[in-house]
């Protein structure tokens, strides 16, 4: 019957498409943003083998929360049973002056001079080895023509991307771009610049504590989680696996920034709009078709069968609306991916959208069904 009323059918499907588009798209953008919060953590680990644990001050909440340890901390950690190796990692927010004189805030990362452990995964072995050159830094390729772009070349006066061979200065220390690396899109926007720990210590303003993290590799056969517990027991430091650190960072960011509540509101709005549109359209559909429902009841169709009929029709339009909406959400994510949209569509997101839409439709259908249940079959003779 619903399909017979083309205008109502189209308006109902359109409402549900809009609702599922909102739910799936916003949930996917949220997932994308949430995923990006751990980009630097997962990008770290190139060079001489990958680490199992991040060790940090017990008060550190996330990757950008720097509460440095004493230099001796690395030695303490190396002495713990089960540790194969441990290297310091320097991290500090500093201001870099580009060749055209602009100041850009950067995240300066210093990695172990000897092993280069803790370098970016997006750098090749050769690019990473370039850090051994004098005053060398590695900069992210995505920022060459972005935050680090030279707006006015001192020689030509024209704008151009920063390039290998250019120099930037941090705290009056001149540094040379020796290589570049690929970095995953990051929730935190300041460019990450890599150099060695000793060079970073020479550049950064002196502090008593300079080791942001200690990267630890467990000996073969040692469970990293057991080792983490041992490190905490011996030193009082927090030791996390990469996944654990990513989770902690994501949870902190979501909690502190209100992203969750903001996206949650939009997603809830989509759900409410979907429910209202579906309920309003379905209810008016039921009202307009009361005589047909009354006729069916008079002719001997039981209430539960009419409820099933309405439920099937509602679910069919719901699934059609969801399919189109989710498809449009995926297409929009794909279309805007080049513009830096944080969009990650997952099975969980699709499942969430489906559950939201089906719930919307069932709630809406329930209102219609209730109306039909109360309908007296004898009313068929009054119409």
């Amino acid at each position: 019957m619903l399909v017979g009323d083309r205008l109502k059918h189209i308006s109902l499907v359109a409402g549900l498409v809009f609702a599922s588009l909102l739910v799936v798209q916003q949930a996917s953008i949220f997932t994308g943003y949430a995923g990006r919060t751990g980009s630097w953590i997962t990008d770290t680990g190139g060079g001489d083998g990958s680490h199992d644990l991040w060790v940090m001050d017990d008060q550190v909440e996330m990757s950008e929360d720097i509460k440095p340890l004493l230099e001796s901390s690395t030695l303490r950690i190396r002495s713990i049973d089960g540790v194969a190796w441990a290297v310091p990692l320097f991290k500090q927010y500093l201001r870099a002056r580009t060749p055209d004189g602009r100041l850009v805030t950067v995240r300066l990362i210093g990695i172990d001079d000897a092993s280069l452990a803790g370098g970016p995964r997006g750098a090749s072995r050769e690019e990473l080895a370039a850090l051994r050159q004098d005053r060398a830094i590695l900069v992210p390729r995505a920022h060459l023509d972005g935050a680090l772009r030279i707006e006015r070349d001192p020689a030509t006066g024209a704008p151009r991307p920063l390039a290998v061979g250019d120099t930037i200065s941090i705290n009056d220390h001149e540094l040379r771009v020796a290589g570049t690396f690929d970095a995953a899109p990051d929730f935190f926007w300041d460019p990450v610049i890599y150099t060695t720990v000793s060079r970073a210590l020479a550049i950064a303003p002196p502090e008593r504590r300079q080791t942001a993290f200690v990267l630890v590799r467990a000996k073969e056969g040692v469970d990293p989680k057991d080792l983490a517990a041992r490190i905490h027991q011996v030193t009082g430091f927090r030791a996390l696996t990469t996944d654990g650190f990513v989770d902690r960072t994501r949870e902190y960011v979501l909690r502190q920034t209100g992203i969750l509540i903001n996206f949650g509101i939009t997603i809830a709005l989509g759900f409410v709009i979907g429910t209202l549109v579906a309920a309003q359209t379905l209810y008016s559909f039921v009202l307009e078709n009361q005589r047909f429902f009354a006729a069916l009841k008079a002719m001997g169709v039981p209430n539960r069968r009419i409820a099933r009929m309405i439920a099937v029709q509602v679910l069919v339009v719901g699934l059609v609306g969801y399919g189109i909406g989710a498809g449009l959400a995926a297409a929009s994510g794909y279309a805007f991916s080049g513009a830096g949209l944080a969009f990650e569509i997952t099975f969980a997101t699709l499942a969430l959208g489906l559950v939201a839409l089906v719930t919307s439709c069932l709630v809406a259908g329930l209102l219609g069904v209730r109306r039909v249940m109360r309908l007296e079959p004898a009313s068929v003779f009054k119409s």
Binding site: M1, V3, G4, D5, R291, F292, A295, L296, K297, A298, M299, G300, V301, P302, E376, P377, A378, V380, F381, K382, S383
Partner: protein, 244 residues
Amino acid sequence: MSARVPAIRCVGVTKEYGRGDTAVHALRGVDLDVPPGTLAMLFGPSGCGKTTLISVLAGILDMTAGNVEIFGTAPFQLSDAARTEWRSRDVGFVFQQYNLLPSLTAVENAAVSLMIRGVDWNAATRRARPLLEELGLGDRADARPRELSGGQQQRVAIARALLHEPRLIVCDEPTSALDHATGEKVVELLRSIAVREGRAVLVVTHDDRIRRYADLALHMDDGRIVERAARASNGASADPTDAH
């Protein structure tokens, strides 16, 4: 079913809406016997209780007091579920506004009464086609209601009311939306069905032009049957004004 069992028997049927001083007495003790093979027509002014009476007889409206038996079955002694099932089996409905489902074709609409009985879609539509042909709609079987004239829609509705072979067919103003000639054809058809199959057809109407087709003409007023006229054994009309 024995021929001595009346198609419709009701004794002292009353129906009140509301209670106390504000109660509306729609039926005030209606007694009625209709034998099988009868086309009975209910006449009377608006609000006299015609629609209430057919609603009670069809088992879709509870009565306040009295007894009703349809071909020996007392629908109001059945549970709600059993009465719903009884209606789907033993009662056919023809409505003033046809109430054909707009998204279904004529043959699918006719087949609805069988589908309600649990017959699958294909079998039901297969069985509906010959009936539509019998009713002169063979070439319109695949048309949707909006593509049919009023008379054609009413014939589809009659096919729907007949296909599951009910014993009681209840019609509410079946000719009111039709021109005179089409209305007469529809009533002729209903009468032939009642006589041929030993069923009972109960028609509520304001249309005096079709009175001459009635085997039993009942006039209602103020919730009572105030006048009865049966067709004479020689076939003379139940309509005393008819010259036949």
